[in-house]
Symmetry: C2
Subunit: 363 residues, 2 copies
DNA sequence: CTGAAAGCGCTTACAG
DNA sequence: CTGAAAGCGCTTACAG
């Protein structure tokens, strides 16, 4: 079960890096100095339009890609991004990591993954960040909404990025989606299918998106002239367990809902479990919808109708923004500090018209 | 919602890298040349014992850590590890990524995350790997057990590492746990609590650990002189959905089990859902146990008694092995190609003595 | 607006 | 067993 033999075959490269083109190659092709190539690749300042064109053409032709290791060495601009997280929903986290770490890897930036207790003292945290020599901070939810933390980080002079916040800070980068609009679309779909008693399970109030999603739900009802029923809105905290309790309350109502919209997939999965426990058929007796489209949405049965949030892409863009900030090199085509990405309504098997409706009244 | 202002404050480093010690500092302190320091840090060959001691002391005193970017540049030994995955259980994947990417980041190695269809043609895959200039391959389950793939990769001369395989290849690195022993422990716990009708949901036969875990189950029964009942062993494929069907069959038995051991957490969660649908109390009427201790184990209710598999650490070690192989620098303290890590039985709330037992017969 | 020089921290041949 | 030199690919002052 153990030996010390080496790999059978191995293809070693020569000392020079394969034959990837270098600045020198580009400089030769464009008939300029190394310096000028470097300027075009970086700030792009103090270069005549004509020269820039020549250099860019050479770069494109040779397929030149800067060697990040060399840049780091020469420039001393090491990027060390702390990824702070708490309450890791693993499905969320894995998508997040794929995006963030992928981008970091390509740019030879380091990501330092740091677990951050709910009640961490910001001072302690800043100390830790210093120990890791972090020079930027990535804040996924719910930390993206922690005002105290944001303030403290800002005071420490660290560039930071909020992902999926409902309240972007003026002092931070932010990548968001339209949480209200997406929820509104989802609820409207249900209404169009004939539902009018639509229950809602809200999210953790410590995340600003919770408010936005609920506002979307309320707006869709209002637009359809459906009077809101307070007993159909119950609070959850994004956890499966809270979804269990919330769904029980909803179904215990004297006039129970024909559809439940949960503000994330975990709680929707819980609602599904409760429905089954009550002997209800989904979607025949009850429609159930979620939000996020994490892996859980297709793990359970029936598969969840939900909103696809591009978590990985959000993380990727936030990471790119921080890298650009630390390196002081603008990201091509992006000069906004706050970016909003599109999301999509994914129709799967957990929704349908209510039983007492044969035909949808409008569709 | 968009502006171009820059971060308010920012702490830039001077051109030289903070004041991290360099080889030159170590050389000065140890009164040797740079060359000698480099030799000690790397192969450690051709250095007198006395000199080595001096250098090592200097390294320890200064807290010297090699600058990977510089090493890569000078040595041209870029490590590019392809992480091939299929059927991503996101809970598994996120833990895996944390371990693997963390290790890669520290060592300035690149991880290229590549989704790999079940029926991918190995030739196509090898082509893709070449395009990415990958020089090592990480194989989490189920790909770690794909013989064709392993053969093809070996022929391509790429060092590879299997994670959580039941059948380590002589041509690969491997990091495993004792799947059979762990399952045996779990089943023995149930037997000690008084269970004798213990159902089992097996895993996907395309993973070699499925066999091992089932063997552990059978061994525990045999050791306790409990005759195996074929109707209590049903096959699953590690998916939630397969767990749903398997649990239904188990509970439909004329003499249903008082406990169900599922060979992973997803299927255990499904068994729990089915139990609830049947109006059974867990663990009062039925004990349910899983395997892996992914996030799902504590997401659901009651929390799952399961085996904690150190996925992140397994991924970390496998990654370290590949990096060492590509750099031809042995990992300190590890010269085995196959490593087996410990795992742990985590007792939570989903198991207990069967209802007809007041006191455990042996505990 | 453009470039020649020095240097980032390390390793690889090459000598002794 | 040990070391002086050259160079990896890039950027930063410094001159023009």
């Amino acid at each position: 079960m153990s030996s010390t033999e080496k790999s059978p075959t191995r293809g070693r490269k020569s000392r020079t890096n394969a034959n990837r083109p270098t600045v020198a190659d580009v400089a030769r092709a464009a008939e300029v100095s190394l310096m000028t190539v470097s300027r075009v690749v970086n700030h792009g300042t103090n270069v005549s339009e004509e020269t820039r064109k020549k250099v860019e053409a050479a770069i494109a032709e040779l397929g030149y890609v800067p060697n990040q290791a060399a840049r780091n060495l020469a420039g001393g601009r090491e990027v060390r991004i702390a990824l702070l997280y708490s309450n890791p929903s693993s499905a969320y986290l894995s998508e997040f990591l794929m995006g963030s770490l992928g981008e970091a890897s390509v740019n030879a930036a380091q990501i330092i993954v740091e677990y951050c207790e709910e009640g961490v003292r910001p001072a302690d945290l800043v100390g830790k960040l210093a120990a890791h020599r972090a020079n930027a901070v990535l804040l996924p939810p719910p930390l993206c909404d922690d005002e105290r933390l944001l303030k403290r980080l800002q005071k420490a002079g660290l560039p930071m990025a909020q992902i999926a916040t409902g309240r972007p800070s003026r002092h931070a980068y932010a990548v968001t989606i339209d949480d209200a609009g997406a929820t509104e679309d989802l609820v409207r779909l249900l209404i169009e299918q004939g539902h009018s008693r639509i229950g809602y399970i809200s999210g953790n109030p410590n995340q600003t998106v919770s408010e936005l999603r609920q506002a979307g739900y309320e707006k869709a009802l209002a637009d359809a002239d459906i009077a809101p029923r307070p007993d159909l809105i119950v609070s959850g905290d994004f956890s499966y367990r809270s979804g269990l309790q919330a769904a029980e309350r909803l179904l215990a109502s004297t006039e129970p809902p024909t559809a439940i919209v949960a503000s994330n997939d975990d709680m929707a999965a819980a609602a599904l479990a409760v429905a089954h426990r009550h002997g209800l058929d989904v979607p025949g007796d009850l429609s159930v919808c979620g939000f996020d489209d994490t892996a859980m949405a297709t793990t359970i049965w029936p598969e969840l109708t939900t909103i696809r949030q591009p978590i990985s892409e959000m993380a990727r863009q936030a990471t790119a923004m921080l890298i650009a900030d630390v390196r002081e090199s603008p990201v091509a085509g992006v000069d906004a500090r706050h970016v909003r990405l599109d999301c999509e309504l994914v129709r799967r098997a957990s929704h349908g018209p209510p039983r007492d409706m044969t035909v949808s009244p409008r569709a």
